[in-house]
């Protein structure tokens, strides 16, 4: 049922990775992504892959669950790989028909890029699997707080993210009910050309907009009644606190980068 939708894709188990402070986790993710880009040969890439598998293992998120997020991008990966195979003309030609030449370095690049993209997705999704949406928005608010100096209202941005997350399931349920009500009056949403289909969305969009505006104004009222005046003078119940785990995580990251640089230097023979 729709009620079973979980916000984001948080996977509720206890692990070292879950315990890392969300702020640290976001920063480490960014560094990790840069490191993946730094790898310029298969050996470095293989090493990074091992460290990622190790991290996934630590997180206790089943690999099956992670594969689901890979499935979502598999077509993009295949597409970019094909482009690399068909249009990379350097290296030794293996097969040739017409203007299309398939070369060994084309295939190598295709595989390299595919692995890189997969690793990107795995490590990014690990962040959302191991951090609750609340912690994520809290961390983003904290990390962006230097922007306050240039008058960016960081608190409002974070509040908007929270409210958006809170209302997504409510809206989905709403769309479902509206669709049923209109189908019961014979609304036809399955047949006809594009023009007709666009028109058939109107009976759903209008009630949805009206109810969203209503929700928004009700919510604003309720927030005002609970003394909300924006971020100024506000405290937080949940305090983000750095622990020893965070230091270990940072050390781990540092070691990975160091090994990376060394490997990049010595394995230049395997360069793409």
């Amino acid at each position: 049922m729709l009620k079973d939708i979980t916000l984001g894709q948080y996977y509720p188990v206890k692990s070292v990775i879950h315990r890392i402070d969300p702020r640290v986790k976001i920063l480490l993710l960014i560094i990790y992504l840069v490191t993946i880009f730094m790898a310029d040969n298969f050996i470095s890439l293989g090493f990074i892959m091992l460290t990622i598998l190790f991290t996934v293992f630590l997180s206790k998120v089943p690999f099956k669950v992670i594969l689901k997020s890979i499935k979502a991008i598999i077509f993009i990966v295949i597409f970019t790989s094909l482009i690399n195979i068909f249009f990379n003309s350097s290296g030794n030609v293996l097969i040739e028909f017409g203007i299309i030449k398939i070369t060994d370095s084309g295939i190598a690049t295709a595989i390299f890029v595919a692995i890189r993209v997969f690793m990107f997705v795995v490590i990014s999704s690990l962040l959302t699997y191991t951090t609750t949406p609340t912690n994520l928005t809290d961390a983003i608010e904290k990390l962006l707080s230097p922007l306050k100096v240039i008058r960016v209202d960081v608190h409002s941005v974070a509040m908007m993210m929270t409210i958006a997350l809170r209302f997504i399931p409510t809206l989905i349920e709403e769309v479902d009910k509206i669709t049923n009500a209109q189908k019961a009056r014979g609304a036809d949403m399955e047949s006809g050309g594009i023009g007709k289909r666009i028109k058939s969305v109107i009976p759903i969009l209008i009630p949805l907009f009206i109810s969203s505006f209503r929700s928004a104004s009700d919510l604003a009222f309720a927030m005002e009644c609970r003394c909300y005046t924006g971020g100024h003078g506000r405290t937080r119940m949940r305090q983000l606190r750095m622990t020893r785990t965070d230091i270990y995580a940072a050390i781990f990251m540092f070691v990975v980068i160091a090994c990376m640089i060394v490997l990049n230097h010595f394995a230049s023979f395997a360069k793409i």
Binding site: M1, D4, E174, K177, I178, N180, A181, Q182, K183, A184, R185, G186, A187, D188, I202, P203, I206, P207, I210, S211, R214
Partner: protein, 289 residues
């Protein structure tokens, strides 16, 4: 007599095959005759709204059948839309369906979808609006400017305008104040009298059910646990309160009076009947003396 609507071995589970699987309907069987007025009661989550969505093909049975005039409604899946014109459902919140800029256009949405010509659409819309008691001065108004009770009447008119053989209403009086509630119930009664249609109403209110229904279905934990006359269902007061459904206060009163040894019927569901019964009890008593 042939049944107008029959349900056979109907089962449905939400999220089947996932760890979240939740049984909503467990082997439901019943049959309804043309012209009956049926009340459906049960808690939120008892399966009653899942059942309603099966009756006009918004959900497709995972097993079992829904038969309209003894024909499986899913015999031709492509024509399921035609079934929805014959079995009309009006859901609880009118806010979920009102979208046009005038009341008239909104009510005309159903008949227009049926592919009728303009004169016929207008004729049906006019009849539907009149039968819910919304006169011409309402037709050009925006449905969003109306009161809660009026919105609900527009929503009901939007379904009546398709001239369905069976009219199904989900919680038509929920959230309305007593005046709004009485108006809706009165218009449903007169609609039934004028058109002799089959009407099915899901409601939390036992008082409402006692007031209009011929027969009552009671749902509990995805099963149909009772389907009988109002008299027989309410006389099982204990079983109902075990499910957590309250019988009307008058009925409780008469059960208590009966226990006290007064010679009265336990089967009194409305205030009017109660007054009559107690007056005749008093007169009878005086005659004896």
């Amino acid at each position: 007599m042939l049944s107008i609507l029959r349900v056979e071995n109907l089962c449905f589970t939400y999220g089947e095959g996932t760890p979240f699987a939740q049984k909503a309907l467990d082997n439901i069987n019943f049959s309804i005759e043309a012209g009956e007025m049926i009340g459906v009661i049960g808690h939120t989550g008892s399966g009653k709204s899942t059942l309603l969505q099966h009756l006009n093909g918004l959900l497709r049975p995972q097993s079992g059948k829904v038969l309209f005039n003894e024909m499986d409604i899913w015999e031709k899946p492509k024509e399921i839309r035609n079934i929805r014109f014959k079995i009309g459902i009006c859901f609880q919140y009118p806010e979920h369906q009102l979208f046009e800029d005038t009341v008239f256009k909104d009510v005309a949405f159903g008949p227009t979808n049926m592919g009728l010509n303009e004169t016929e659409v207008k004729k049906r819309t006019r009849i539907a609006l009149n039968s819910v008691g919304l006169g011409m001065d309402f037709w050009a108004k925006s449905p969003f400017d109306l009161s809660g009770g009026e919105k609900r009447r527009v929503a009901i008119a939007g379904v009546i305008a398709m001239d369905p053989d069976i009219l199904i209403l989900d919680e038509p009086t929920a959230g309305l104040d007593p005046r709004g509630r009485d108006e809706i119930l009165a218009l449903l009664k007169s609609y039934r009298k004028d058109h002799n249609k089959t009407i099915i109403i899901a409601s939390h209110s036992m008082e409402d059910v006692a007031n209009f229904a011929d027969r009552v279905m009671v749902f509990n934990k995805s099963k149909l646990v009772m389907f009988d006359s109002v008299l027989n269902v309410f006389s099982k007061a204990e079983q109902l309160s075990e499910i957590g459904l309250d019988i009307p206060q008058v009925t409780q009163l008469f059960i208590r009076l009966k226990e006290k040894g007064y010679n009265i019927s336990k089967n009194i569901f409305t205030v009017e009947d109660a007054i009559k019964a107690l007056i005749s009890l008093k007169e009878g008593g005086m005659n004896d003396a």
